[in-house]
């Protein structure tokens, strides 16, 4: 039993140790603290992609859109109605899930490609809705003057809070992955028919899982709004979603820490890239390179095996994976 526990929570422990070690180094620098908070926020968004794509096989192109729902929800209730950010938090967790679930169900039998296109469309429609939201969302101008969190009103406190939330989400995520539901999701991703034979209501399960992942994005949006104190239609757009997907994929979407690593890597990369028009080439190039060398991402790849396998023959696949039925 303890061995099981250790293996499941070990990556989280590693992350806690790294954050704890980094904190005194950066505590004096508002700049690094600010970057650290952003890495944490992007980690949450990327984890949401990791859950949806890495576990359930749904490539969500809308993490930033779900984040925007959360961010606007808290921005609106705190600035327009003067409610507590905690009310905003509840909405930020709930609303994205409420949008995500029926959407996933609407794409009837949930084959992954159309659903990811649907998330893309959702992103675009939501951006339009935010722009047309006039008084509610602030239209094209957005909402400024969002109150910082009273219980985390310094950058340092935000650093602690946001990484704390990342660790909590990782803990919940690790537990969920290692449960009957988590196993069923993995099976359904690989082979919906097999999952059905296991007694799984595949569309409902995947849609629920997708909704949970949307909630994680909403949480990121909540932190985002209260950290930046400004939320506008250009803030969490489809371009951000694509970047977040990149983070998850590069780090390893199916692993616990992959999305976090990806978020840290890409955030630091933008910091050190020269400010120029060529940035997209570097991002696109990195993505293609990772996909070619290690399609499961940096942490999702067993490097030792990969190198050994180069000289060896490919092992035979047990299941001729074909989701297209041959009736």
């Amino acid at each position: 039993m303890p061995a099981v526990l250790r293996s499941r929570l070990a990556p989280i422990g590693l992350l806690v140790v790294i954050i704890a070690a980094m904190t005194p180094l950066i505590a004096g620098s508002a700049f690094w603290l600010d970057n650290s908070v952003l890495v944490a926020i992007f980690s949450l968004l990327a984890l949401s992609v990791g859950m949806a794509y890495g576990q359930a096989g749904i490539l969500s192109m809308a993490p930033a859109a779900f984040g925007a729902i959360g961010a606007f929800a808290t921005s609106i209730v705190t600035t327009r109605y003067g409610l507590s950010p905690l009310v905003g938090l509840a909405l930020a967790l709930l609303l994205p899930a409420v949008v995500a679930y029926p959407m996933a169900r609407a794409i009837t039998r949930l084959s992954p490609l159309p659903l990811s296109i649907a998330t893309l469309l959702l992103s675009l429609v939501l951006e339009l809705a935010i722009r047309e939201g006039k008084g509610l969302t602030g239209g094209y101008i957005g909402i400024s003057g969002i109150p910082p969190l009273w219980f985390a009103d310094s950058v340092f406190a935000m650093h602690v809070l946001s990484w704390g939330l990342v660790v909590v989400v990782l803990f919940l995520y690790a537990n969920l992955t290692d449960s009957a539901v988590g196993r069923a999701v993995k099976t359904a991703r690989h082979d919906p028919l097999r999952a059905t034979a296991d007694g799984v209501n595949v569309p409902a399960l995947l849609a629920s899982y997708f909704a949970i992942s949307a909630s994680v994005s909403g949480l990121a949006g909540w932190l985002y709004a209260h950290h930046l104190t400004y939320m506008g239609p250009d803030s969490l757009t489809m371009h951000v979603s694509i970047k977040v997907v990149l983070m998850a994929v590069i780090g390893g979407a199916s692993t616990l820490l992959g999305p976090v690593l990806g978020a840290a890597f890409l955030t630091l990369l933008t910091l050190y890239l020269p400010a120029a028009e060529t940035q997209g080439m570097i991002f696109g190039g990195v993505l293609i390179f990772v996909l070619l060398v290690a399609p499961n991402g940096v942490l999702g790849t067993d490097w030792g095996k990969l190198i050994a396998r180069r000289s060896d023959k490919q092992p035979m696949a047990v299941r001729p994976a074909a989701t297209e039925g041959t009736a």
Partner: protein
């Protein structure tokens, strides 16, 4: 599996070490930050803004800088995204310790990073028209200065010239779906109630639209006396005038500011003939000052594009002037105070004067606006 993590930790630690050593630099130069959109949809504005600010800084340093101090310009790419704009502001203020920030390209970016300027007591000189950026309700108001004509200014001038003076009653509007277009629509709706004219057609177009024939048909069918073009993107403006010609709109078309540039004419072809634009400059018939700006741009190896260089240069020159006026140590607050003394300043490339004071940070006024008309593929200034 672990090696990836160790690598990440090591590079992070190295980055911190670098940051800490650079922060300890002594002040033998004056650091100014510049945040522009070099990627994403706003790049057509951000790129020329960066180019002119870079060129002006280089020239200034070649002439010995200000009071013997060189200007160290640090550029950051906001990627048409407020998050990145705010990140840029944090980096520039906290890590590079700049004393003033030029930019960003977009109004939403300005709103996102202004609180950071306030927190770090650094003035922000923003080349945006977005109205709320200089609203006095903002806590950050004291630190934000506008270096471009505001949307209110431009829209009022547009209505004055296109509607009130010729006493036209039926107005058709094509607006782009963003802050700029929305501000125009809002003001137009308000004015139509006060001034007794009718908006017979108002059609929005997303920035990404490439074909506007249906939109133009809609406007043509409403039979307006004049069509107002509220777009800032040259591609969109050109797409509309082409469509207007094709569907046969005969009413005059009058646009604003940033259409006054070469790419618009190139993309519109001879469909642009007769279009009028309310603007702040004219590269085909430049004033003395703009000729000089043109020379700066050409000397830097670029071609003048139009609006973006004018408003970009204004911010740079204003901050240079403010630094000249600072007595003692050059700090953010000192520059801010000095900026408020700049009024009637003529050494920008704008025609007309720049003016900031203790209670207004708008900078650019009515006297800088001109009207140009397109003739045979060239802009002609209408006197």
């Amino acid at each position: 599996m672990k090696s990836g993590w160790l690598g990440a930790v090591a590079s992070g630690a190295a980055a911190i070490a670098v940051a800490m050593t650079t922060a300890a630099h002594a002040q033998d130069s004056i650091k100014i930050g510049a945040i522009y959109s070099l990627n994403g949809p706003a790049a057509p504005f951000g790129v020329p803004e960066r180019d002119i600010v870079e060129a002006l800084t280089k020239n200034l340093n070649a002439q010995g800088g200000i009071n013997g101090k060189k200007i160290d310009l640090i550029i950051c790419d906001e990627q048409t995204n407020p998050t990145e704009a705010a990140r840029c502001a944090t980096k520039l203020t906290r890590q590079d310790k700049v004393v003033a920030i030029l930019g960003p390209t977009l109004g939403t970016g300005a709103l996102a990073l202004a609180p950071i300027a306030l927190a770090n007591k650094v003035p922000l000189l923003s080349p945006v028209g977005t109205i709320p950026v200089t609203s006095k309700d903002n806590a950050f108001w004291p630190w934000v200065f506008r270096t471009a004509p505001s949307d209110t200014l431009i829209i009022n001038a547009l209505f004055e010239r296109a509607v009130f003076k010729p006493q036209r009653k039926r107005i058709g509007i094509l607006y782009q779906e963003d802050a700029y277009g929305e501000a125009g629509m809002k003001l137009a709706t308000q004015l139509s109630k006060e001034k007794n004219f009718e908006i017979v057609a108002a059609v929005g177009a997303p920035l990404s639209a490439i074909d506007l024939t249906a939109a133009a048909t809609n406007i043509r069918n409403a039979n307006p006396d004049v069509v107002l073009l509220k777009t800032s993107a040259p591609a969109l403006g050109a797409a509309f005038v082409r469509a207007a010609k094709q569907v046969g709109i005969t009413a005059p078309v009058i646009g604003t500011g940033s259409l006054n540039q070469r790419p618009f004419l190139d993309a519109a072809g001879n469909a642009a003939d007769g279009i009028q634009i309310v603007s702040i400059g004219n590269w085909d018939d430049p004033s003395e000052k703009q000729k000089k700006l043109g020379e700066v741009i050409v000397a830097a190896g670029k071609t003048p594009k139009g609006y973006a260089e004018l408003i970009g240069s204004t911010g740079a020159l204003a901050v240079f002037e403010a630094i000249r006026r600072v007595k003692g140590e050059v700090t953010g607050p000192a520059i801010r105070d000095a900026l408020e003394t700049i009024c009637g300043f003529k050494d920008t490339y704008l025609d007309g004067t720049l003016c900031y004071s203790k209670d207004q940070h708008e900078g650019v006024f009515q006297d800088t606006l001109i009207t140009v008309e397109v003739h045979d593929g060239k802009f002609k200034t209408v006197k």
